[in-house]
């Protein structure tokens, strides 16, 4: 138990919100929160963590959704000797009613520390700190209220996507419908870890990629269009009248030089084959430029943060796929990827690392996909090319 926390108090200084202040508020009514402050103060003093991670924690039938945390000094901090995290599957797009938020908070005040994190980096609701004894009753109460655990461990992590067409005019796909469908389809993959390591699916409705799917998912879905940008020339001229320097701010900044500005006719022209659908022109002139009509998604693979090897950005696997219920093409591809990875991956090896170890050519052959130029990750540096035949 800690009454004095001089090192943590430093984190309350400055104009920004402080999580220490929030834990102190909770510590007035929750003993575990008070010990949590003590553990962290001790860690800052000793410059070493006092948490142990992993082991056996869970609820019956599940191998995911609970992350075990044990303090290595239970005699000093008995009220936070076990302080497990529960991950709760968020609704697609993170839309809640106030009633459902109150329900979650009431359950968590009864069974846990009362402290939450909306949301964790995978997207789940994070309920911070409960005891081993309280896990099962808490889970039972949550499921009665319509909630379920999210993914953790060597499992499919809770799929997540941007708010999509619910709030954004640029979304080329229904990310909410897709994420909900994938979540329901792959419940077993989320709750019962069976793979070499974690696997993440994230979807963004357009290449602005507001949920950073390209950097954070093994299987990245980015809404796009197959035909050409739609340009409203009258709206373009309105922008010109209002002083927008189209040549400088739009044409010159097009990364693939796919736009041409004819100052004489005041016309913005598109070189369709050169457009990489980056959204820059749309972002600058949203009233004049729109995505095309034939919409779908680009599927990329391999994004991850560094653990065994360094961080990877996803790269293109399928340049264009229609994204419509029941999403069979996407689900078939996912199952094929999992089967190959599960068969060949080493423990803790992510998909990108396996592809790098065995070669993209092997991966494509196993997936039954033909190589196309969009898959090129970076220009080759080896001048020697050996053809199979």
């Amino acid at each position: 138990m800690a009454d004095e926390t001089p090192l943590l108090d430093e984190l309350e200084k400055g104009p920004w919100p402080s999580y220490v202040t929030e834990i102190k508020r909770m510590a007035k009514k929750n003993a575990a929160a008070k010990d949590l402050l003590g553990i962290q103060e001790q860690s800052y003093k000793d410059r070493v963590t006092h948490w142990k991670h992993g082991g056996i924690v869970g609820v019956t039938g599940y191998g995911a959704g609970v992350i075990g945390r044990y303090c290595d000094s239970p005699e000093k901090f008995p009220d936070a000797a076990s302080f497990h995290t529960m991950r709760i599957n968020q609704p697609a797009g993170w839309f809640y009613t106030t009633k459902s938020l109150r329900t979650i908070c009431d359950i968590w005040e009864k069974y846990g520390s009362g402290m939450t994190n909306f949301h964790g980096s995978t997207g789940d609701i994070i309920l911070l700190g409960t005891t081993t004894e309280n896990l099962q009753p808490c889970f039972d109460t949550l499921t009665e209220a319509g909630f379920d655990l999210g993914g953790s461990g060597s499992a499919l992590r809770t799929p997540a996507g941007c708010v999509g067409q619910a709030r954004c005019e640029w979304s080329n796909i229904d990310t909410l419908g897709l994420i909900h469908d994938l979540t329901m389809e792959f419940q077993d993959e989320i709750h019962r870890p069976r793979w070499p390591y974690k696997f993440k699916i994230k979807a963004s409705g357009c290449p602005n990629d507001c949920v950073a799917a390209i950097a954070r998912a093994d299987f990245t879905i980015i809404g796009t269009w197959r035909d050409a940008l739609r340009i409203d020339q009258a709206a373009v001229q309105e922008y010109v009248k209002k002083g927008l320097d189209i040549q400088e701010l739009v044409v010159r900044r097009c990364p693939s030089e796919a736009l041409v500005w004819d100052a004489k006719t005041q016309e913005l022209k598109l070189l369709v084959d050169d457009c990489v659908r980056c959204m820059h022109c749309i972002n600058v002139m949203p009233k004049a430029v729109r995505p095309g009509i034939e919409k779908g998604a680009t599927i990329l693979v391999g994004g991850k943060a560094p653990i065994i090897k360094g961080a990877y950005l996803s790269w293109v696997l399928v340049p264009f796929m229609k994204v419509e219920p029941p999403y069979d093409e996407m689900k078939d591809l996912l199952r094929k990827i999992w089967e190959w990875w599960d068969e060949n991956g080493r423990t803790r090896e992510r998909l990108a690392e396996l592809i790098e170890r065995l070669g993209f050519k092997t991966f494509l052959r196993e997936m039954g996909l033909k190589p196309v130029p969009q898959m090129v990750k970076y220009p080759r540096s080896n001048p020697y090319v050996f053809f199979d035949r």
Binding site: G61, G63, G68, P193, R194, P196, E339, D342, T347, R348
Partner: protein, 70 residues
Amino acid sequence: MAEVTDELKEKVIKYLETVPHAKNRDVARALGDEKALVDKAIAALAKEDKIEYIYLGASFVKLKGKKMVD
């Protein structure tokens, strides 16, 4: 895909008696059964509370109550 039988579940339990913990894939390879079917059998055994999942840097399965080995 074939259905999970009591015989397969029994084989999984027998194998897990011989190891501290295992990945699903190791169980499937040891038994010579299809991985997807073994996944289903392990899920069924977890629901029956006969096996449990553990996390040791990655996820493994072990017999419920069996002593953990790091």
